[in-house]
Symmetry: C3
Subunit: 272 residues, 3 copies
């Protein structure tokens, strides 16, 4: 499935994104709104941030993908997310959930689970503790960052389990990204240490997936494309830039102008 043709598939999908400029509807947190809108624009799609329950039904109906991100949550926002998600499900618009901080507070864990129970989610992307929290198992969480060292084998089992429970592609991201559709497991090995020193990089890789989900019907491939494109960009930029402000500017630039040759030189995806 993933071989040396993968860069061709990815850059073909990227070209479709840039030609069609699909709308990505985000119901997301206040910290990253500007940043993820710009990530979506650098990749080539068209972002809209809209969370009012009075308009999410209309807005999502134009969308190529819907992003639900619980990073700065309040109770009513979950209702908007579910309303938008239900319309997306009816219209076969793919939905990605970023359960930011799930496991850290009851509000977040319960909201993530409520969304998962009421909306069919195509892709779930989170860090190890966030994904673990939606299996019902305990995980040590510190704020919205995961602090437990996890073994890849343990995480692949969790990814498979969550994937099967919710019929979703599951991506557990970190130094190595683990992606599963319940049967297959892929590992993506790109990235850069500098990502830890800027906020919203998880949320950004989520919207990168959403861009590809809006044009690529296979959700497993779309997720691999989104995560790999973002982390290869980070890795390329991190070779030259070792400070966070300049790194973030460079990353946004590289998401815009990466060539297929550059991508091909760097990407490292393996099937387990």
């Amino acid at each position: 499935m993933i071989n040396e043709n993968f860069p061709d598939i990815l850059f073909n999908d990227l070209k479709i994104i840039r030609d069609k400029r699909p709308l990505i509807h985000n119901i997301t947190n206040f910290v990253v709104m500007n940043q993820t809108a710009n990530v979506i624009l650098s990749i080539g799609a068209s972002p809209v941030m809209s969370h009012s329950i009075s308009e999410v039904e209309e807005m999502v109906s134009f969308a190529g993908a819907l992003v639900l991100n619980i990073g700065t949550l309040w109770d009513e926002l979950v209702d908007s997310m579910i309303k938008a998600g239900e319309i997306a499900n009816k219209k076969s618009i793919p939905v990605i959930l970023d359960p930011v901080g799930s496991g850290a507070t009851r509000l977040r864990t319960e909201s993530a689970l409520r969304i998962l129970n009421e909306v069919h989610i195509s892709v779930i992307r989170g860090n190890p503790a966030e994904i673990k929290s939606i299996t019902g198992k305990d995980a040590k969480i510190k704020g919205v960052d995961s602090i437990e060292l996890n073994k890849i084998e343990e995480l692949t089992e969790i990814a498979k389990k969550v994937s099967n429970r919710y019929d979703s592609v599951v991506a557990i991201t970190g130094k190595t990204d683990i992606i599963s559709d319940g049967k297959n497991i892929f590992l993506s090995h790109n990235g850069d240490d500098m990502l830890k020193h800027i906020t919203g990089t998880g949320c950004s890789s989520t919207v990168s997936c959403a861009c590809f989900m809006s044009v690529q019907k296979d959700m497993m491939i779309a997720t691999l494309e989104g995560l790999s494109y973002y982390s290869v960009a980070a890795e390329i930029v991190g070779k030259e830039i070792k400070t966070p402000g300049s790194f973030e500017t460079g990353l946004r630039d590289k998401l815009f102008n990466m060539t297929e040759e550059e991508y091909r030189d760097y990407f490292r995806i393996e099937e387990l």
Copy 2:
């Protein structure tokens, strides 16, 4: 009205802004708050973002101009906008409306119309579909971006009509900006393709207008100054920088340090 003296007028107003640092009160969307505060600071005025109905009356009373931007709207926010707008009207503080996404959802179109009916708006700035939506005509909208190709002749008629209906200067912005006070029409031809690849550039040109509206009594001239200053800065920066992250940083820098000579070399405004 607009001739070779225009740069002198603009840079004289810019000097007044930088000397007096007028307060620009923004009731605006969550995506661009940080960005437009920084645009206002680069131009030389003093931004405040404040939307609580408990304080907008007091806050706007200190302001040199009021910005109403409906980009991430919820129902109660419109009440705050109208309350602030009414005080601004009483105190002759100019108000600019940015009807982001009007036409895309009923909430946005109805909110824009409600504001226009309850507050006298000095300047309305939007893209073609947004401005068309407040004429009552249908326009194709995709999220908050306009997708219809519009002929300049058609748009000048719309600008005039909206201007006369609401007694406002109307600016329809795009590759060419069209500005009308109901009788006269000006076209402003600056800008750069890179503006499409960063979020909040429309909102930024709106606050640029607000800065000039706080010191220049002729709203038509203030609008031309605001739009032209912003798009000339973009055009200068776009000559050198072809990637979005670096472009946005450069644009913020150029709004701060553009010389009258640079502006004079680039600005292209014509009267129809």
Copy 3:
């Protein structure tokens, strides 16, 4: 107390921050959320932005410090701040208050006073007009910026008075920062003019203090560390960069990679 060993103390605390990555819980304004999260990450701590009354109690219980910033206030937010503050007090987690715009509107002044009366605040950081407003005296405010020129002598008296009233370290920041614990007064003289041309620099120096408060038990020293580290970084960057977009990127970089030698060359703290 502050002598040539101060850089050693500061960089030792910085090392502890970077090793332990304490969680800094922010209930803050929408303008600076992304920016201050990144300042916290550049310094080395771990930010979380969370304001829902349904989760602030749980979230703050993991925190090394709590930041309360009233920059975009609405009524219910104050309840969340007080709830989080009470838990922080119970668990001896230090709390810093940034009373943005206090004095400009009744909502802000009353909210600042209500928080001060219901929560023990370890450190209060504001500009002259904001701090003056919480003494009950009138101060001229324009939006969220202070416009009154204040003599250092007058301000040191105010700092002492507020400090004694609330049993807090008080920092009045501006060209010179004045810090008092009610008895002692320190002046910190670093900074750069460019700070006036970017938004959120006051809020950023507040979170810088919060980072140090999470590891340094002496709140006076922690406040000096936070303010001095931030303003020295600004001064170093301002030597080379004279435009606001590039300056902000450079500042974020310098907060990440400043050496003790650089800091030692620049810092200017005096005891009155």
